[in-house]
Symmetry: C2
């Protein structure tokens, strides 16, 4: 499929101007555009500017508040619950992370559960906010239900990602950022575009049978928890996705399980909502609340170097340290530009025309 390269700055400006046009403040438009584009830079194309139209549609139907009043509704020295006031998750999440960082500064760690928010882009961006402060960052979110728990034929969980960012010394930081499913939905979309089958263990049919049809979700099927089936540990992926759901939504008062609001604005909202909006959970731990940061980083360097230099299977040259491929991609795309599929470009141009902006 045809692709075109855009500079980071071009896409950042376009996204920021769209956010300004729907009524975001200058600061919020800047943050939202940065968070969104960080996904494109890091190669997580499914969560980047390709979703801009989706966010705007949610605003158009009144499900996103462009000018939220983001409030702490309950707190202790190390915890807070934040009401996102229906704001863009792209804006609510960094605000919540900042609260967690402040608490970690004060008492060693900070833990923030968020309700009444929307999709927050890539979890990794938020977790990585902690790195500059010599802190470990954790970010997770629930999402609309696409995943069938082990033995279920109903979709009850989102892909519920977890990100953990850990500072190192001379080595780049360790940054894990992964959906708690065998494969994220974005990987299925790539196979759909190529008209290819998916590996076993990624999806099941609506009757719960194993399937390799990359279009299974459109036929009522479901994504599978990490592990794929019980024999391969899918109950563990289910537990992980459940923990993300509970920390993000039951601690905060957001919607959970099958009641999480869908991202596409045209999909009807679930009925009898038990909470408000979607939920996130953030954690920050100050390294020197445990041991001197310099000592910790020296051992992280040692850890990273030992794992990177492990003997590998013949077809691979090294073990991949979490975050390394995304960091390389970011450097490369910042220099050479970000490739967009023609379908995404067309979609953004229609959006731009509506708001008198050119891409």
């Amino acid at each position: 499929m045809k692709e075109q390269l855009y500079t980071y700055h071009q896409l950042y400006l376009f996204a920021k101007n769209i956010f300004l046009q729907i009524g975001c403040s200058e600061a919020n438009a800047d943050t939202a555009a940065k968070v969104l584009l960080s996904a494109d830079l890091r190669g997580v194309d499914s969560h980047g500017i390709a979703r801009l139209t989706g966010y705007v549609r949610l605003w158009e139907v009144g499900r996103i508040n462009a000018n939220p009043s983001i409030q702490i509704v309950h707190e202790t020295p190390s915890t807070a619950v934040i009401n996102g006031d229906k704001g863009l998750g792209l804006v609510v999440a960094p605000a919540a992370m900042q609260v967690a960082i402040n608490k970690a500064n004060n008492v060693g760690t900070g833990w923030v559960s968020v309700k009444n928010s929307n999709h927050f882009g890539i979890a990794g961006y938020h977790a990585m906010m902690a790195l500059d402060h010599d802190m470990i960052g954790i970010a997770m979110t629930n999402a609309s239900a696409l995943v069938a728990p082990t033995f279920s034929i109903e979709r009850l969980l989102g892909t519920n990602p977890i990100a953990v960012a850990i500072p190192a010394g001379i080595e780049p930081p360790f940054v894990a950022d992964f959906a708690t499913t065998t494969a994220a939905n974005g990987k299925l979309e790539i196979l759909q575009r190529k008209n290819e089958d998916s590996p076993e263990g990624w999806v099941q049919t609506k009757e719960g049978a194993p399937s390799t049809d990359a279009n299974e979700l459109k036929k009522g099927g479901a994504l599978l928890p990490l592990g794929g089936d019980k024999e391969h540990g899918s109950h563990k992926g289910f537990m992980l996705g459940s923990i993300v759901d509970i920390f993000s939504a039951i601690l905060s008062g957001a919607n959970y399980g099958p009641w999480v609001p869908p991202f596409p604005a045209y999909v009807p909202m679930p009925e009898n909502l038990p909470g408000e909006g979607i939920g996130h959970f953030f954690g920050v731990m100050r390294i020197d609340a445990f041991r001197p940061a310099a000592e910790f980083k020296q051992h992280m360097d040692n850890w990273i170097q030992r794992f990177r230099s492990a003997q590998t299977i013949p077809t691979e040259s090294s073990v991949i340290i979490p975050g390394e491929p995304e960091r390389k991609m970011e450097a490369q795309r910042m220099n050479n530009g970000i490739p967009l599929h023609q379908a995404v470009i067309d979609d953004l141009r229609i959006l731009g025309a509506k708001y008198h902006l050119e891409l």
Copy 2:
């Protein structure tokens, strides 16, 4: 294979008396026996009394201190690092969890990283200590390296389990407790006893080739991270195991990666150790540091009931709520007794004879 039933009390007394014989205090022997036996009760036979001889052997070679002085070596209002003084992990872990609970009482959450400890039994026991306080409990530990990271042929990580215990209202608590590998080593041992093959994705040969030989570890092979291979998300299992390793050992100053001391006393210690003993990590979050506990529990009940009543594949009657099978097993074994394999009984009788105790 022949099995015999013992009452909980018989096995508890035997284990406690052994711990007393090697010099544990009354209180520590009681705790150690309770933690050890909780594994047998919950059906995690690989981590229960079958390991008693292993713990004693570690004491015999001087790697376990029966009378440790467990000390906080650094702390902030929400964090602590604890030096286990080479104590039994079975004793060090509950002490560390208690510190985390106290901190959660004071400032909302408590996070404790532990060095210079030993194997701590099942992670779930420690996480569940939080439940009676209306708190969420988290427990993890690193362990000696049996797991090859994605693309590696070297064993660099332990099975590094994670347990998360979350209180509910009228429903029993949600208790996840799982190794970050496709299957725990205990499951392989069951197949070995039955002379059966393992499913694909559990182990690889020492050259890194896929294998279904349940005896592969004895031939230099490795367990695989949850996911099995890259196509099925094993890099996610690798990330999870890595996070457990880093939180448990690099935050505290314990050994990590391939340097974690082995459980069998006859296996030589790794050289050039970067830390002290093995590491654990514990977290406790007070529910009402986020929202009123009664509200939270009501939503947990709703969550559990919705997931338990999900439509299932034809061969299964319900989705398994994490912790439910173990809770049922515990009730059943507390009533009817704990079955031990003849090989375990023989081993315990030899141990008993050495310390003038009868089983």
